[in-house]
């Protein structure tokens, strides 16, 4: 049962999204064509993985702005490995491990040394990106093996995998975040790290783990995104970090930690992932896309305040 009171942020984001969809549908009914909805889902599925990771990071009260650069590094490595003849199942394992390793660097510096995550990941954002540029000199990975695209499953089979994995991860994480003790520990640390420590939770380990997990999800996302094509560019993921943060915040999570839910993030991803397409369908100039994105973030904030005010008033009255 959906309890409005406990999920008001998520529900209001969803309602806002539905209103937007209805408006788009009113102007351009073809938006709801099966083909379009399918494409939207497939295109945003890998990004959902990153937003899931970012939700965990933000729940801790931290932030990771290196994910875009990690994504680019992981994409290229996925291609290099595939070219080297690594079979598909092993590719999954390898990519998750590579991602986890990159995330672990952040996790180590933030968790172990207690350095501010925004600075650590800012440094990593620059370092990974420029490191990749140095090594690849901008070259794409080409000449991938035949069975790389769609994992050799053909278009529809591959698409199924691309959508199924993130959705599965989403369901598992949403469930685990709510129903496993480890999930609740993340909330506890984000809510009050010292109180969590007193309750027998180790905030340092949790922080390390979450950043490593974030990296693993980036690795997986990079792989799923890469197999949609038969070449891998070396400049992927620019600006992805801010989009992920925006999706999480629009989905109702508090940047200060401890508050937020994965279903909200799903709505946030859907909202931000739909704008560009919706604008094209409605016939609004794509030049306004960024402005609208900004307005959505600010509107989410203002909406939160309005809701808070309303609550206070109803609590008083």
């Amino acid at each position: 049962m959906l309890d409005f009171r406990r999920n008001k942020r998520e529900i209001s984001a969803a309602v806002a999204y539905l209103v937007l969809l209805a408006a788009v549908g009113g102007v351009a009914p073809s938006f709801f064509g099966a083909g379009n909805l399918g494409d939207l889902v497939i295109n945003n599925a890998p990004f959902l993985l990153i937003a899931i990771g970012m939700t965990l990071v933000i729940l801790l009260g931290e932030i990771d702005i290196s994910v875009g650069s990690q994504f680019a590094v992981a994409s290229v490595l996925a291609g290099v490995l595939a070219k080297a003849g690594v079979p598909v199942p092993l590719l999954f394992v390898a990519m998750i491990m590579i991602g986890t390793a990159m995330g672990a660097v952040n996790g180590f510096l933030v968790g172990r040394f207690g350095l501010p995550s925004i600075i650590v990941t800012l440094a990593m954002l620059v370092a990974w990106r420029d490191g990749l540029r140095w090594v690849t000199e901008g070259a794409w990975v080409q000449g991938l093996p035949e069975n790389f695209q769609w994992f050799g499953l053909g278009q529809s089979g591959g698409q199924l995998v691309i959508v199924a994995i993130p959705l599965l991860v989403f369901v598992v994480f949403a469930w685990a975040l709510r129903n496993l003790r480890i999930g609740r520990a993340i909330y506890a640390v984000g809510s009050d790290a010292e109180a969590a420590r007193l309750a027998g939770i180790e905030p340092k380990s949790i922080t390390f783990g979450v950043f490593a997990l974030m990296g693993g999800l980036v690795g997986l996302a990079a792989l799923l995104n890469a197999v949609r094509f038969n070449e891998i560019p070396s400049n992927a993921g620019i600006g992805m970090e801010l989009k992920a943060v925006a999706a999480v915040v629009v989905g109702g999570a508090a940047i200060t930690g401890g508050r937020g839910k994965l279903p909200g993030t799903l709505v946030g991803v859907a909202l931000l992932g739909t704008i560009a397409t919706a604008l094209t369908f409605v016939g609004i100039n794509p030049f306004w896309e960024k402005a609208i994105q900004g307005l959505i973030i600010l509107a989410a904030l203002v909406g939160d305040v309005v809701m808070r005010k309303y609550e206070e008033r109803s609590a008083e009255g």
């Binding site: 040394f113 370092a127 540029r133 801010l242």
Partner: protein
């Protein structure tokens, strides 16, 4: 109280070290010194007054942002919207001046007011609605840039500003001092004054440590925050005004990514992201640590990407250092332990400095090693040819060549040809440029080359107005200048290596589309970013060609890809659905075409074909599949090859004004018309011939 007697002597004087370097700023001075020593050895003309001033010119815009970011970070806040505010301000100023015909000073004034307004918007949301600055300014980061793009539809590029105004960004006082220092230096002093010498500044530190505590001490927290965020908007606008004067053009992409650079400088300078600590001296040192690193690497002919890696490394070392010196000073402050932990503190300092030093030295020596190996290698293999071909001069020419963006596959293929030519000619080739399209960076690189003293500069120009001044300066210094791929103003270069004019490209693309469509029907374009100058030029000629020659063809949509393959993919999917009658999708950015092709392929629409401008290798699979009917391009490898040959010929006097042809290695005799060296017409790659090319 009377019990003072038993107290130990109270120290009231602040030790000098603590006064000047409250946050271990001396570490940065050490870093700077190491940088300077290393680069004065490895970089040509690094240690000269002119280079010193040049470095400071390059630092001005980001420096201004870093200056105003400092008080914000000291209060524990952050402002991600400064770079976007620069874009918005640039556009507003351009529009007011050119379209609204306001006199420039008035336009600038209004622009600065827009900055104040934008900053106040941030301030109002942060202080009134009480949201974290990170999220608020993330929102306005998108909003400001979005408004700038929306207002100009991305394509507007305001240029043609008067000399007096441009002097602000490009001129020199007494022939050496860049004009904008006249703004930067007073701004630095003013913000230093505000932050460290006034009651207001002191209250910002208090707010940073504890906003609540500050309020109890009678500090008006909200008002103070409002002031600094508004100031941030204002100074961002000011930075934009200088930026526009510096580049001679106002576009919506001004200042992209500058916010992160500014934050990096501030944090490197010892400010704590949690608030409370930071100094203007630190920020300025942090700024120059980054800028000198970039400049020095450039003058040493080392890859610019190292700057990013080193900056990231430095950032982490600096905050780690900070962390440990702080935990040391949090130790008991009993009278006896005082001495002890001071020692500890400095020990930590020395260790950290040593780490940085060794890091830099190891890195530096490695690069130099690599570089010398490379040099020897190329010199060795081409020595024989060198002797044959360059007997006339006997000197090894240095030719510096710049693409629009280093990472772009198109330019990578050009580099292939350039390397080939350099090897044959036995010259030293410097290949450097912005990592992404960035006209300001192009100027910076040229400036560095002038300082370094190269023989010839070959530039693929991103922005005519922006680069022409500095190219002229290079010419004045006796450096031969050619442009390739895209031209500057005519008087700013000696020759243009002309592979195709925008008009030629536009027309060929249109003709190809027409051929595929049978001269009628709908088609769509996927471009690079909406503000990309070249693409907008081509689109102009495509539209012109349509009205003149193909009235039955209709261009229904122009969608952006931001040079991102995946984005091109999504946009094409949308185009195919929204405009079902589209017969051809034309990609006019190299990475866009494979994205378009993949989208068409996955849609299963056999009736839609793809054409455009891209590289054969990238599109090969799709050309073979028949999805991409054809792509239009010249032989990019030959373009790079020819450019180096032409530059070398200029240096040796083998190519002069009035020549009709010149010999360019394996390309044999090349036609020269007036001041243009012609590569030949655009080439059309298709199923039949694509296998003959590898680039």
């Amino acid at each position: 109280m009377e019990n003072v007697g038993e107290q130990r002597e109270l120290r009231t004087e602040l030790p000098l070290a603590a006064r000047w370097f409250p946050n271990n700023e001396w570490v940065l001075i050490a870093v700077l010194l190491v940088e300077v020593v290393l680069f004065s050895v490895s970089g040509a003309n690094f240690l000269s007054a002119a280079n010193g001033f040049e470095i400071s010119r390059l630092a001005v815009e980001i420096g201004l942002l870093a200056l105003v970011m400092t008080p914000i970070i000291i209060t524990g806040g952050i402002d991600l919207s400064v770079g976007s505010m620069m874009g918005l301000s640039a556009v507003v100023m351009g529009a007011l001046w050119r379209d609204a015909h306001l006199p420039l000073p008035l336009a600038i004034l209004i622009t600065l007011l827009v900055g104040v307004g934008g900053g106040y918007l941030n301030a109002a949301i942060i202080t009134k609605l009480r949201f974290p600055p990170l999220i608020v300014t993330l929102g306005t980061f998108s909003l400001f840039r979005g408004i700038a793009e929306g207002l100009t539809r991305g394509i507007e590029n305001y240029s043609g500003f008067g000399e007096n105004y441009l002097f602000l960004g490009q001129g020199y006082l007494f022939d050496v001092i860049p004009t904008q220092l006249l703004i930067f230096v007073p701004a630095t002093v003013a913000i230093y004054w505000m932050l460290e010498r006034t009651a207001f500044g002191r209250s910002l530190y208090a707010i940073g440590y504890s906003a609540e505590g500050a309020r109890y001490a009678g500090i008006k927290v909200r008002r103070s925050l409002t002031v600094i965020y508004t100031l941030s908007g204002f100074v961002s606008s000011l930075a934009a005004v200088i930026y526009v004067a510096h580049l001679g053009q106002a576009k919506s992409d001004a200042g992209t990514g500058y916010e992160l650079m500014a934050i990096t400088a501030v944090v490197l300078g010892g400010a704590s992201i949690f608030g409370g600590r930071g100094t203007i001296l630190g920020t300025v040192l942090g700024l120059f640590a980054i800028v000198i690193l970039q400049n020095g690497l450039r003058l040493s002919g080392l890859p610019a990407e190292l700057a990013g890696i080193m900056t990231g490394f430095l950032l982490i070392v600096v905050i780690l250092f900070d962390r440990y010196s702080k935990s040391a000073s949090a130790a008991p402050a009993g009278a006896d332990t005082e001495e002890e932990f001071e020692v500890k503190n400095s020990q930590v300092g020395i260790i950290s400095a040593a780490i940085i030093l060794t890091g830099l030295i190891i890195a530096g020596s490695n690069w130099m090693l690599v570089r010398s190996i490379r040099d020897n290698g190329s010199a060795g293999s081409s020595e024989a040819k060198n002797a044959v071909q360059n007997t006339g001069t006997g000197k090894k020419a240095v030719i510096a060549m710049m693409p629009k963006a280093k990472g772009d596959p198109y330019f990578i293929s050009c580099k292939k040809g350039a390397d080939e030519a350099a090897k044959e000619l036995g010259i030293e080739l410097l290949w450097d440029g912005p990592t992404d399209l960035d006209p300001a960076k192009q100027n910076e690189v040229v400036e560095a080359w002038i300082t370094r003293g190269v023989d010839a500069i070959a530039v693929s120009v991103e922005n005519k107005e922006a680069i022409s001044t500095v190219l002229k300066k290079a010419k004045d210094k006796g450096i031969k200048v050619v442009t390739w791929d895209a031209d500057s103003n005519k008087d700013a270069r000696d020759f243009l290596i002309n592979q195709a004019t925008p008009q030629g490209i536009g027309e060929t693309l249109t003709d190809e589309a027409s051929r595929i469509m049978g001269g009628k029907g709908e088609f769509a374009i996927v471009t690079a970013s909406l503000s990309a100058a070249n693409q907008n030029e081509w689109i102009k000629y495509i539209k012109q060609r349509l009205t003149e020659k193909y009235p039955e063809m209709k261009l229904v949509a122009i969608q952006p890809s931001d040079g991102d393959r995946d984005r091109a993919f999504t946009e094409t999917q949308n185009i195919l659905k929204v405009y079902p009658n589209v017969k051809v999708v034309m990609g006019i950015a190299a990475p866009a075409v494979p994205g378009i092709a993949e989208a068409v392929k996955q849609s299963g629409r056999n009736d839609v074909k793809v054409t455009g401008l891209s590289l054969p290798n990238m599109c090969k699979p799709y050309i073979k599949d028949g999805i991409v009917d054809s792509i239009v391009l010249w032989n990019t490898v030959d373009l790079g090859y020819l450019s180096v040959y032409a530059a070398d010929a200029l240096v040796n006097g083998k190519l002069k004004k009035g020549d009709k042809t010149f010999e360019a290695g394996r390309l044999k005799s090349i036609e020269v018309v007036d001041d243009e060296v012609r590569l030949g017409k655009p080439f059309i790659f298709n199923k039949e011939n694509v296998d003959n090319f590898d680039f």
